[in-house]
């Protein structure tokens, strides 16, 4: 029961992130979708770390990986936001559907 709830919430967070990237128009919301997906991976790591020993403490490897992955997520969003600033200067909008000048 517990396992189904946590795995269900991992998939729910993952699909929320995918929905944000696929459907949302504002560029910053798309970047937040990437953050949400990274958080689903973090939840998975913590949950599996707690399963591993079952003796009252949680595997420290899972926690350290999550600490470092939060930093990595922050770096990706920082670079993404600097690109969004430049895109606003050129296109004067935050709507990603206006960025259509490159044809196939």
């Amino acid at each position: 029961m517990n396992e189904a709830v946590v795995l269900g919430s991992i998939f729910a967070l993952f699909s929320t992130g995918v929905y944000c990237i696929a459907v949302k128009r504002n560029m910053i919301r798309i970047l937040l979708g990437i953050e949400i997906m990274l958080n689903s991976g973090n939840l998975a790591f913590i949950y599996f770390a707690s399963l591993k020993s079952g003796r009252g403490f949680i595997d420290p490897l899972g926690q350290s990986i999550v600490i470092m992955s939060i930093i990595i997520g922050g770096c990706v969003v920082a670079v993404g936001l600097s690109l969004v600033v430049n895109a606003y200067r050129h296109f004067k909008t935050m709507d990603v559907r206006k960025l259509r000048r490159l044809k196939w």
Partner: protein, 494 residues
């Protein structure tokens, strides 16, 4: 502990500091010299690591900082890692030398060279990683540097749009890899490659292993430009500056393919993934070759050609044998040289004529003979004409598919390869045709750019008529991956 050659991991910081000093003290060309010296040092360092790997027992080196590998982070360097790192270092050296002249009128050059060095350090780290999370950290280093290098010329709108779309898709891929890593950690209790392989190799395929396989193929496939996930590539390559396009197409997508190969051979067995990879490879080859015919822009045409070459490499992966992997690794090296040369020579053409459209370059070949000759060599190599190294690796790839019993894959591959000559020859025909009245009047490209492209063309022809060094190296690399699993595990677990 950490050996001396791995000090090249610090080269982005060194390049930035020396470049900053050069800008402040107004010393001309100091940062270019620092960047070229750093890339040359990385070639030498990777060569020294190659000698160390050859001399090591079992052909595997393990490096760690303080704690022992199964729990601590480590580098596990085998022959395949050295081969990929050697290709990366060589292409970085050529691209850095070329960009000294190509980017001389741009601003923010210190950051450019520092990020180029960081991207190459990231790729070398991915090749050497012995731990899934170490691979992820270097993967993100490589990706983050490449987002900004694609969007580098931010005064125009094209690079910014292409850079943003590339960022979203590539970060999506990295997050999917992270989720796959979490599931593997849940199943096996570890993220170390040797321990993962020990725990999961040879297990019967269950639903969760299929889910992880799907996540890995999608995650690495977004980076390796496998067809349903390739849509960032035709936008990102033309808008990036030419040396960055050469690095992206030459080694970044191959590093994605290397990650996929490494994990598939460690965790799964070849019969389990052969069919799915074969289907993806047919889709990739056919789709990319068809779309490349319609492109008016030379760099976009070369971008679609890169996707098609990824399809050929997937043929080698789907064969699942050491011979197929020999074709894949040899083609990684050859493709990095040929596609790198194609992008660099087209960069010379674009630099002098000022346009990216093929139709507007009519007759330029007669005014820029050396560059057109190198373009000739690169495109013929990509098409697989004998006496270039492209022929040898494509031959090995397609015959390995025959050896694995998938003759239809070979037939489709050969047809696609012949078909691709159509658009390569179209470029060459336009370049060497007679100049028009109102056409461009250009002279030959700057000397340094010509020297770099000529050196790469000479290497292509040399390895075409004397392929033995590359084939021997690729052979030991592929055997280390496919047959050397026991040694890989034994180097870390006693």
């Amino acid at each position: 502990m950490i050996p001396t050659p791995l000090l090249i991991m610090l080269s982005p910081i060194v390049v930035f500091l020396v470049g900053f000093l050069g800008e402040e003290l107004k010393v001309k060309n100091l940062r270019e010299a620092a960047a070229v010296a750093a890339s040359a040092a990385s070639v030498v360092a990777v060569y020294m690591l190659y000698l160390m790997v050859e001399a090591a027992p079992d052909g595997i080196l393990v490096f760690y900082l303080q704690a022992l590998p199964p729990l601590g982070a480590c580098f596990e360097i085998d022959m395949l890692g050295v081969f990929i790192a050697l290709s990366v270092a060589l292409l970085t050296f050529f691209a850095t030398l070329y960009s000294v002249r190509y980017m001389e009128h741009d601003t923010r050059l210190t950051e450019f060279y520092a990020l180029l060095s960081a991207m190459s350090v990231g790729m070398i780290g991915v090749a050497f990683a012995g731990d899934f999370f170490t691979l992820f950290v270097f993967w993100e280093l490589m990706c983050i540097s490449s987002y900004v290098l694609v969007a580098f010329r931010k005064e125009a709108w094209g690079p910014i749009e292409a850079g943003f779309k590339y960022l979203v898709m590539s970060a999506l891929g990295a997050t999917i890899i992270f989720l796959a890593m979490a599931f593997l950690y849940g199943m096996a209790g570890t993220v170390n490659f040797a321990q993962l392989s020990n725990a999961l190799h040879g297990q019967p395929m269950s639903m969760w292993l299929y889910i992880v396989f799907g996540l890995l193929v999608v995650g690495f496939g977004i980076k390796a430009a496998i067809v349903p996930m390739h849509t960032w590539l035709p936008d990102a390559h033309p808008e990036a500056p030419s040396p960055i396009s050469a690095m992206l197409s030459g080694m970044l997508i191959e590093t994605g393919l290397y990650g996929l190969c490494r994990i598939l051979f460690l965790v799964y067995e070849p019969p389990a993934f052969g069919a799915a990879i074969a289907a993806l490879s047919i889709l990739t080859m056919c789709f990319a070759n068809l779309l490349a015919l319609l492109q008016p822009d030379i760099k976009r045409l070369l971008a679609y050609s890169s996707i098609a070459q990824m399809g050929y490499m997937l043929v080698g992966l789907s064969a699942g044998s050491a011979y197929g992997m020999l074709g894949l690794t040899a083609h990684i090296f050859n493709h990095s040289l040929m596609k790198g040369l194609a992008f660099l020579s087209s960069g010379s053409l674009i630099h002098m004529t000022g346009t990216r459209e093929i139709e507007k370059m009519k007759g330029v070949g007669r005014m820029m003979p050396v560059t057109t000759f190198t373009m000739f060599v690169a495109l013929l190599g990509l098409g697989g004409v004998p006496t270039t190294n492209g022929f040898i690796s494509k031959f090995i790839l397609f015959s390995s598919a025959l050896g694995a019993g998938m003759w239809w894959l070979t037939v489709i591959g050969v047809i696609n390869s012949a078909f691709s000559m159509a658009y390569y020859l179209r470029v060459l025909k336009i370049l060497v045709s007679a100049p028009e009245e109102g056409g461009p009047k250009v002279s030959e490209a700057p000397l340094l750019m010509v020297i770099v492209t000529a050196a790469m063309a000479a290497l292509i022809i040399l390895f075409g008529v004397y392929p033995a060094p590359i084939i021997n190296l690729a052979d030991s690399a592929s055997k280390a991956l496919v047959n050397g699993l026991g040694k890989y595990i034994g180097a870390v677990l006693p």
